[in-house]
Symmetry: C2
Subunit: 233 residues, 2 copies
């Protein structure tokens, strides 16, 4: 049991954040370019324009996701820093209010002021630990890892590109778009099944169900894109 526990807790470690970024990028990378290419096959007959649109989408999608993730992580880090500054000020200017907030946290778990008194008193003796405690337990904010934003952005973007090239490769090989669509569907659904199964190992979902769900998203997105493109062309 402890081994399982240990395994679970590793999910919050740095290496698993990379896994999470790969999952984020590859989920969309395998799905959206695949669906777009399938959709365009409902409207055009040759692969050239589909490859152009697909590569343009991969460029746009990977930059939007990567850069978006970068700025979001930067903004989280700034948010953390400014909230931390505020907590640091407050334990100096209004220590009694902050001490009351610690007691209030414990009160939500049914603890009386007497029962939490020694923890509150101990925290008041250690300003830095007190601030750490408030950041985590009052505000629910985790300390950002330095350099995380850039690494996260590149991981997401690259995973999107890798995912997107898989469905598109069929259109590079077959000039006839409908022939390419068949191959692209087969290759991509297999890739989605495999990727979903592996993803399940990290999210804790059963491999088969995770694989089928991931393939279902890709399939539905592609079917909707195909139907819409066919309708308007």
């Amino acid at each position: 049991m402890k081994d399982h526990l240990h395994h679970h807790r590793e999910h919050h470690s740095k290496s698993s954040e990379t896994v999470r970024d790969i999952i984020i990028g590859m989920s969309d990378g395998l799905t959206v370019p695949f669906a777009l290419a399938a959709g365009l096959t409902g409207a055009v007959d040759t692969s050239t324009i589909i490859v152009t649109a697909g590569l343009a989408e991969i460029a746009a999608g990977s930059i939007a996701m990567g850069l978006g993730g970068y700025l979001a992580a930067k903004s989280d880090a700034e948010h953390y820093a400014s909230e931390r500054k505020r907590e640091e000020d407050e334990i100096v200017t209004v220590p009694d209010v902050e001490a009351q907030e610690v007691q209030d946290i414990f009160k939500t778990y049914g603890l009386t002021e007497t029962e939490s008194a020694s923890v509150v008193a101990a925290l008041r003796q250690r300003p830095q630990d007190w601030v750490d405690f408030m950041m985590r337990f009052e505000l629910g904010l985790e300390k950002p890892v330095p350099g995380r934003a850039l690494k996260s952005a590149l991981t997401i973007a690259l995973s999107y590109v890798v995912g997107g090239v898989i469905p598109l490769s069929a259109y590079l090989v077959f000039a006839d778009a409908h022939r390419a669509l068949d191959v692209s569907c087969a290759v991509t659904l297999l890739a989605l099944l495999g990727f979903g199964a592996i993803k399940g190992r990290f999210t804790g979902a059963p491999a088969i169900r995770s694989g089928l769900q991931t393939a279902l998203i890709g399939g539905l997105a592609a079917a909707a894109a195909f139907a819409i493109a066919r309708m308007i062309s």
Copy 2:
């Protein structure tokens, strides 16, 4: 100051989760279809195929993001339930190990076992509160809101569609793709500036900087898509 505090803490409330979903969907919706359409303008001259590709992308992107978000939320809820079950078992089968884990949490904040003893003893008297405490403070997991997954999925998907229709509308009006591109760029960059500025109000970033950053992501994604489509056509 308390008002500011209060305002901040509302960020974790339900209504702000909706805001977050709108931001997630609209960020990508305004960016990717815009960039794809701009990219295709580097390769084709008439708007028809661009509108087809754009609408196919909006269908694919909104389903991929919405359904992906839905399954992720469902999986989080299941993960929470199974971890909770495990903690519930552990406080019955290995209460001393779990009590030690509570002390270890406080130890990371510099508290001695004596100082945290009364809190540990009090939690041991209240099994449900103890489990709540472990879920939040040991595992860092928040209780999922029922029905959240579906609402989140629809909000993200709809925001993506609304965002995506803005850049595409220019190609519906102007049959000449290059003319449409100019209008689409102007309209979308304005929309990105405005959206980014409003987003800043919710993420805490200064409005002007947030607006410029958001417009920059859209502009870079569009430029990259344009360059790639031009290169291969």
